[in-house]
């Protein structure tokens, strides 16, 4: 049974942010923070890279719109051309409406699936859940995880540092 890391619980967001900053200053890199709601200050501290998901959304949208438009074009020009109300076969204005809706749908799916894939969800079993204090049941505390694989990680040292930074509970969690 290997050790996954140390989980420190803090009472409020400010304490977590301070602790994260402190740990970072101490050279820790393999960290993660857990909070019941997003804390934007952590992005810089944890060096969270800027996500490329917006590009996925854009590509998803454009692809879906183009595919649907192509399907429509194929159906009216190639597969079964029919004179409908004397309108041209390729009546682009109405077709754009459908392509637009399809684009939105594609973009939304790309975004939703993208965020799941990028976040590795669903992930029902995760080591952090092994921490007894880790729960959102009471609205959630604010947690800082130092992974055991961090080069600076020294079990007792790290634990002490965390406690000093205001952690209410620090526990070791198994992988």
């Amino acid at each position: 049974m290997s050790l996954y890391g140390l989980m420190a619980a803090f009472a409020d967001p400010e304490a977590l942010i301070d602790a994260a900053r402190g740990m970072r200053e101490r050279g820790y890199r393999r960290m993660d923070a857990f909070s019941p709601f997003p804390l934007e200050e952590l992005d810089g501290i944890l060096e969270i890279p800027k996500t490329r998901l917006p590009w996925a959304v854009l590509v998803g949208g454009i692809t879906c719109a183009a595919l649907v438009y192509a399907l429509i074009w194929y159906s009216v020009e190639v597969d079964y051309p029919i004179n409908v109300g004397g309108r041209p076969l390729h009546s682009w204005p109405p077709f754009v409406v459908i392509a637009f809706e399809a684009g939105i749908l594609g973009a939304a799916f790309a975004g939703f699936l993208g965020v799941l894939v990028a976040n590795g969800l669903p992930r029902y079993y995760h080591p952090v859940f092994n921490a007894e204090s880790f729960t959102y049941a009471r609205g959630g505390r604010f947690y800082l995880l130092i992974e055991a694989t961090d080069p600076k990680y020294r079990k007792s040292v790290t634990k002490r540092q965390l406690t000093r930074l205001g952690a209410e509970i620090v526990e070791e969690i198994e992988a």
Binding site: I82, N83, V84, G85, G86, R87, P88
Partner: protein
């Protein structure tokens, strides 16, 4: 379930009890509807028609019965419409018959006893469609609305199927046994106490058979009961010329026509021919063309009055005064009587008539008094028209009778008659009010009834024998001009019915003889070749009556105007244009066909003038009590613009409750108020009540709202400005955002001449028959769910009391830029290469968006399951269906297709023969039926096509052209020809 039905359900039918109840009065029992819920009815259906019984709900309602009505329970080809998976060939294939190809037979249908020649389309021995016979003088290729329904009545499941003795099913053999006893009794007594009551008929064979019977039984009395009889032509000509003659008119020669209450376009045996000639004389396509002028004075609005250039509505009692005034104006009588008509009007009319001279024509109403009739004949003689526009012929009806129903009833009461044989007539429904025919007939020793239905009279009779339908019979009949026409069967009698000739032969002791040999015997003087030709043509060549040459006396042969009765209000009786005396009451097509002027369906109403409604403070549908001749009836009032004041129009044909369809309809029975066979009653009383009765109409809005929908002008205006249809009309858009679609092959199109349209509704009925259009029933009609693909709109313009009436047939316009097509989400309505706006029923999912977006509102939706899509479930009601047209299921949109099945058939034929489709080869059902040729159909890409000629007429315009839908159906603006000297009341024509 209706209240009526509930009343009856729960108790079994007991025939004896029914008869007892029936004995109490004429409307005691209602219909199949009443007994529909009973155990007996179910058992009956199950035993006779197991296939139907499966689909019969536990408590069948009116809708079910209507659906069952669609056609016969057990038609000949029942084997052929079994499970779709099995196919049944012939055992011996008839030589002329190729499965899949229709065969046409010439035959003749009777209309009030006179023949109109038809061609009947038959599919695998199943007659499905009636078309006019172009070679027949009374049809000239046209049909009317009623004739179209002949195929429907043929397959009517309510038809009587078995002989009945005292109401119980019996065999024909038993009947013959009883008749054999009668024959020997009559032979012994020379026919003493015997009476024969005949329906109206001009059959020469019948007349000959009656003569034979008379010779055999010298004491036999022959009566005729024709509730719609119009005997005055004979009376007037006897008074004037000393011989019984009847007039035949030639509208193709007439320049000025004056109708004295004659609805020559809508009624009478020659109406189709007259309408054709009349319209031909009013065809204006260029300013150089000329048209006749029609003056009408009438006692109840008719389609003839609607077509007139000058129309006046007068009370029935005033017609004689109008006639007398005319006589005075024409100089035959020095002193003009008091005229209800403006003298300037009369002066202008008489000047016009005199100017036209021998090309003038004065037509008396056939139902008018002999006095009016005689004045008209004398006027024609005076104008020199006799022999030109009017010819007098021997009446086609040569049967001599001993009296009418009244005489018969008197004879029965006097004990002179103890045995009566009723052939075809239904006196228990159509007897006049004062005559207690029921009592008289009940006292008969033996009453034999022969008829299509187990009707009111059949219920009273000791023996009822089912009659063969016209389409099942051999017979002969004369047309209005005396042409002897042959009736030949299209199908073997479905229910083993007998023709009237067979029945008369049986009475004469010939028990085994068939109708064909009786007819052939009568016409034995013509050889076999001529006979075959006559069968092919539908008429015996050169059998029309020769005109008699007569000279009119200076006086009227002693005819005097009738004495005016007291009271202010007159009643005008009319026969319902479709149901006639009620004999067609069980035909759902006719019940649901809007009446030309009122657009009322499934019932009748008491028509009154707007002024009278105002005085009585009543609205449409309020019940009024009409009392005359000591009796009264309640009827819903209907305000008809242009109706003469202080007059109530009551129509016959309704109030019948025998037959499941007839029972669905509402309305009153006007026979209950009628005295004798009079068409008028004076001194009536009208009392409004607080009740309402439902009157169902298919057009709720009558005004044209100032829109350029029906464009019209007088002939003078047209000559000044041939393009009058462009005047005051919204400009027609010439450009479209969309490029034009090429139509390289055919480009089907239609032109409808509004000047020629007389609103007779033949087109609508023909469309219904051709295209398997469902009837929906009164409740659905009331909700506005009727299905006619083609409707004839009727608009009024001008003053309420003397409006102009316009008819406009509206089929699908087949727009090139069809708004309906672009909104269909599933491509169920699209354009074809030849410019048809096709409707693909099997692709339709019923969003109804197309109808929402149709500015002409010509699409029709199957809101409910009106006819079953499923062959198995439909059972035998497919009998009348055109096999080349899909039967539409519930939830599907449908509309006029320009009879695409006919286009397809002709195209396939042309392509097999590797040629183009000729102009006039494709004829739509509406076009074919139209008596005035108002509808032209053809290919726009053929420069010589008729339709192209019509469309290049200056008065051609597309309906709602400002919407740029580019309709293929266009209209020719209506042109009338009013007399410039008369500022017509409510003149809306000259603008």
């Amino acid at each position: 379930m209706s209240a009526i039905a509930e009343k009856g359900s729960g108790s079994g039918i007991d025939i004896a009890a029914l008869r007892r109840r029936l004995a109490n009065g004429r409307d005691m029992w209602r219909s199949l509807d009443e007994i529909a819920g009973t155990v007996e009815f179910r058992r009956f259906v199950e035993a006779e028609f197991p296939a139907i019984a499966e689909h019969l709900p536990a408590k069948p309602n009116r809708r079910t019965l209507l659906k069952l009505m669609g056609a016969s329970f057990s038609l000949a080809g029942l084997a052929a419409c079994s499970r779709a998976e099995s196919i049944v060939p012939y055992v011996r294939q008839p030589e002329v018959l190729v499965p899949g190809k229709p065969v046409y037979y010439a035959t003749t249908l009777s209309s009030d006893g006179f023949g109109v020649g038809v061609m009947v389309e038959s599919h695998e021995g199943r007659p499905t469609k009636v078309e006019g016979n172009p070679d027949h003088p009374a049809s000239r290729g046209a049909t009317d609305a009623v004739m179209q329904a002949a195929v429907l009545t043929l397959f009517d499941p309510d038809r009587s199927r078995t002989p009945l003795k005292d109401g119980e099913p019996a065999s024909y053999g038993d009947f013959l046994k009883d008749i054999a006893a009668l024959v020997s009794r009559w032979t012994a007594s020379q026919g003493q106490g015997g009476a024969l009551l005949l329906d109206a008929s001009t059959s020469p064979t019948l007349a000959a058979q009656v003569d034979v019977l008379r010779a055999r039984y010298p004491k036999l009395n022959v009566y005729r009961h024709d509730p719609l009889a119009r005997p005055t032509a004979g009376q007037a000509s006897r008074a004037l010329f000393g011989s019984t003659l009847t007039p035949v008119y030639h509208f193709d020669r007439a320049e000025v026509i004056f109708s004295l209450d004659a609805d020559f376009l809508g009624e009478g045996p020659g109406r189709l021919a007259y309408a054709r000639d009349f319209a031909a004389r009013r065809r204006v396509r260029s300013p150089a063309d000329w048209m006749s002028r029609l003056y009408v004075v009438e006692t109840s609005p008719t389609i003839t009055g609607a077509t007139a250039d000058h129309r006046l509505a007068v009370k029935p009692r005033d017609i004689e005064a109008v006639a007398a005034a005319l006589r005075a104006k024409l100089g035959a009588q020095a002193e003009a009587p008091r005229s209800p008509v403006d003298p300037t009007w009369m002066t202008a009319l008489s000047k016009d008539l005199v100017a036209a001279g021998r090309n003038a024509l004065v037509i008396p109403g056939a139902h008018q008094s002999a006095f009016v009739y005689a004045i008209a004949l004398a006027a024609n003689a005076k104008l020199g028209a006799l022999g030109n526009t009017v010819e007098l012929i021997e009446p086609p009806d040569t049967l001599q009778v001993d009296g009418d129903l009244t005489t018969l009833c008197e004879a029965i009461s006097d004990g002179v008659i103890d045995t009566a044989v009723v052939v075809g007539a239904n006196p228990m429904h159509t007897a006049p009010a004062g005559l207690n025919a029921h009592k008289a007939f009940s006292s008969l020793q033996l009453l034999v009834h022969h008829g299509l239905y187990r009707d009111e009279t059949a219920f009273l009779s000791h023996w009822h024998v089912p009659a063969a339908h016209e389409l099942e019979s051999w017979s002969d009949i004369r047309a209005y001009d005396g042409t002897a026409s042959l009736v030949q069967p299209l199908i073997k009698p479905l229910y083993d019915g007998k023709t009237l000739h067979q029945l008369l032969a049986v009475l004469g002791g010939q028990f085994e003889i068939d109708a064909l040999s009786l007819i052939r015997q009568h016409w034995s003087e013509i050889n076999d070749e001529a006979w075959r030709k006559a069968l092919r043509d539908g008429a015996i060549a050169n059998s029309a009556a020769k005109p008699a040459s007569v000279t009119a006396p200076p006086d009227l042969g002693g005819l005097k105007p009738a004495v005016q009765a007291g009271g202010r209000i007159d009643i005008r009786f009319v026969a319902d244009p479709w149901l006639r005396d009620g004999r067609f009451a069980n035909a759902s097509w006719l019940q649901e066909l809007p009446r030309p002027l009122t657009k009322i369906v499934w019932g009748n109403a008491a028509l009154i003038s707007p002024a009278m409604a105002e005085r009585l403070k009543i609205e449409n549908g309020n019940v009024i009590n009409v009392a005359a001749n000591g009796v009264s009836l309640d009827a819903p009032a209907w305000i008809l613009p242009g109706h003469p004041d202080e007059t109530v129009t009551l129509s016959f044909g309704f109030g019948r409750k025998v037959g499941s369809v007839a029972a669905l309809s509402e309305g009153y029975d006007a026979f209950r108020l009628r005295d004798g066979t009079e068409w008028f009653a004076t001194g009536a009383a009208v009392t409004p009540s607080t009740n309402d009765m439902r009157v169902i109409t298919t057009q709720h809005h009558q005004a044209i709202e100032g829109r350029a929908i029906v464009r019209h002008a007088s002939l003078d205006t047209f000559r000044q400005d041939p393009h009058f249809v462009r005047k005051d009309a919204p400009p027609s858009p010439t450009e479209s955002l969309y490029p034009d679609w090429p139509y390289n092959q055919e480009a089907w199109a239609m032109a409808i001449d509004l000047s020629a349209c007389i609103g007779c509704m033949a087109c609508v009925s023909a469309c219904q028959a051709e295209n398997n259009i469902a009837t929906v029933g009164p409740d659905e009609c009331e909700r506005g769910q009727e299905m006619h693909w083609l409707r004839v709109d009727r608009y009024y313009a001008g003053p309420l009391d003397a409006p102009d009436t316009f008819f406009q047939p509206v089929p699908c316009m087949h727009c090139e830029k069809a708004p309906c097509e672009v909104v269909c989400p599933v491509n169920a309505t699209v354009h074809t290469h030849d410019g048809l706006n096709a409707q693909v029923y099997n692709r339709c999912i019923g969003t109804r968006y197309c109808s929402q977006n149709c500015p002409y509102k010509v699409r029709r939706f199957n809101f409910l399951d009106h006819q079953s899509f499923d062959k198995d479930e439909a059972g035998s009601e497919q009998g009348v269906h055109n096999p080349n047209v899909s039967v539409r299921s519930r939830g599907v949109m449908e509309k006029c297709t320009y009879c695409v099945q006919r286009i397809s058939a002709k195209r396939i034929q042309a392509q097999i023969e590797n040629r183009d489709i000729a102009d006039g080869e494709v004829v739509t059902a509406c076009q074919q039926a139209c008596p005035t040729r108002a509808i032209t159909f053809g290919d726009l890409n053929r420069k010589d096509a008729n339709v192209v000629r019509e469309k290049t007429a200056p008065q051609n315009y597309p309906l709602l052209e400002e919407l740029n839908t580019r309709p293929r159906t266009t209209y020719l603006g209506r042109i009338s020809n009013p007399n410039g000297e008369l500022s017509k009341p409510g003149e809306a024509i000259d603008d």
